[in-house]
Symmetry: C2
Amino acid sequence: MFAVTILGNNSAVPAFNRHPTSQVVTMEGHNFLVDCGEGTQIQMINYKIRRSKISHIFISHLHGDHYFGLIGLINSFGLLNHQQDLHVFGPSPLEQIIELQLSVANTVLPFKLHFHTIDKEGVLIEEEKFIVKCFRTNHRIECYGFLFQEKKKPRKINPEKAKQYQIPSSFYDRLQHGEDYIQKDGTIIQNNLVTEAGVKTKSYAYCADTKYDESIIPHLQGADLIYHETTYLDNLRERAEIRFHSTSRQAGLFAQKAGVAKLLIGHFSSKYDTLEEFETEAKEVFPNTELALEGVAYTI
Amino acid sequence: MFAVTILGNNSAVPAFNRHPTSQVVTMEGHNFLVDCGEGTQIQMINYKIRRSKISHIFISHLHGDHYFGLIGLINSFGLLNHQQDLHVFGPSPLEQIIELQLSVANTVLPFKLHFHTIDKEGVLIEEEKFIVKCFRTNHRIECYGFLFQEKKKPRKINPEKAKQYQIPSSFYDRLQHGEDYIQKDGTIIQNNLVTEAGVKTKSYAYCADTKYDESIIPHLQGADLIYHETTYLDNLRERAEIRFHSTSRQAGLFAQKAGVAKLLIGHFSSKYDTLEEFETEAKEVFPNTELALEGVAYTI
């Protein structure tokens, strides 16, 4: 399963039973936590997210509504006797903030806590089946989005065809990776005669907090799903601009220009007690839009 | 009104819809916040506590379940354009922890934030009608309890009697404070002939996290209400001792020895999904005990 579950969809101040930003990306058996606003650990309990499966946490930036819940979560992992290593990725000085709070309480964690300071765009994790990258967004302070990408799946061999062209099984691995086979007499057997494409690889991009900025698009072009913030409706476009945030119409426009399959919108300002207008506005530009609702898992 | 409203009654890790420690003491028109575990600002919304009335916050100690919600609350006060000065009392290095987090986000608060580092027992606030004191408890790290005390109310003059003894009205203020009146011929008019006692003054003590320790008693002897922690039931008395916590039976014993009128118990371990046994156990020693339940205001 490749999905994202929303734990908090509100901006800055909690309101109307909406919580500050946090979401869980489930991919290849991992639960990746993306941002961790205050109360995230309580939302995890509410929505039955297995805390023990969280081994990597990505913090986009150091505005409180995106990380004030991190120290509480780490502390609880300690009290619950979590044993697995925990990797935290985020801008400096996140490590200092967390370590200071652990040290004043003389906290000794029963697991290894690894900090990975993000200070540039690039690959954060690369494993056999997936890759996680970060990219800069355009916000008031240093801020990163995250791209979760399945790696290219191997091509599927048609065994009958392979046999017919007398391809030895020792060459199958290279066939799966797209190579042509050359017979002893020099005849080239084109790869697509004996294989077909593997399952399509998918990707999800979390675009964090940002003003409308098309320079971000190349990092996530053609993604299957993106989460883009919409703090305001478009009649407050100037306010959004000043505060380095986006409007719902801009989120739609961004998704359209990036050629993505689907758009999730969130990070709603506490000014708004209902969300319908956000959906309507974004859909006018980009029809395949959904509101990011807390507790809902969106399949990618 | 003099009352305490419980916002969080659980220890360390949130569980069973119970939250980390926080409570609001309402006294003489003030809302004093005592401890501020993660999610306190959300609990305030849930229980309709007017955040704008909070001008003083008291933090007992720097274990996370007592203060991780403070930075979020202060940050929200800023975003909500709170104007009133805010006074925060707590042990060092609380100020450093909060200031570091405000500075990394370039936060400029629209109100004055005053830190008052607690490093000894004594008076924290003294106003015309009340006094707030702190006292040390016996915990794993430096930890303080807080005593909220109404000041002695003036005695009530019986105007007919005062006239009868020819006491001039210019002396009434001194009568209210208990002085006798001496007539021109030297006759002493005893104060209680012309006045009666004012309304009884009341007090509330929050005993924070502590192991059972009778040396704390003199600070709160005879209080109308105390909140004492009970992290465990008495069959885990050894564990309580090792971890510098108390059991329910010990909380009852403490209340009995301190001669207080009523006991509230809270700070329940996440081990327990129900609370009835805590109440039963404490009541065996001290019958006038109540469970501190979230959202409930207990009148003092």
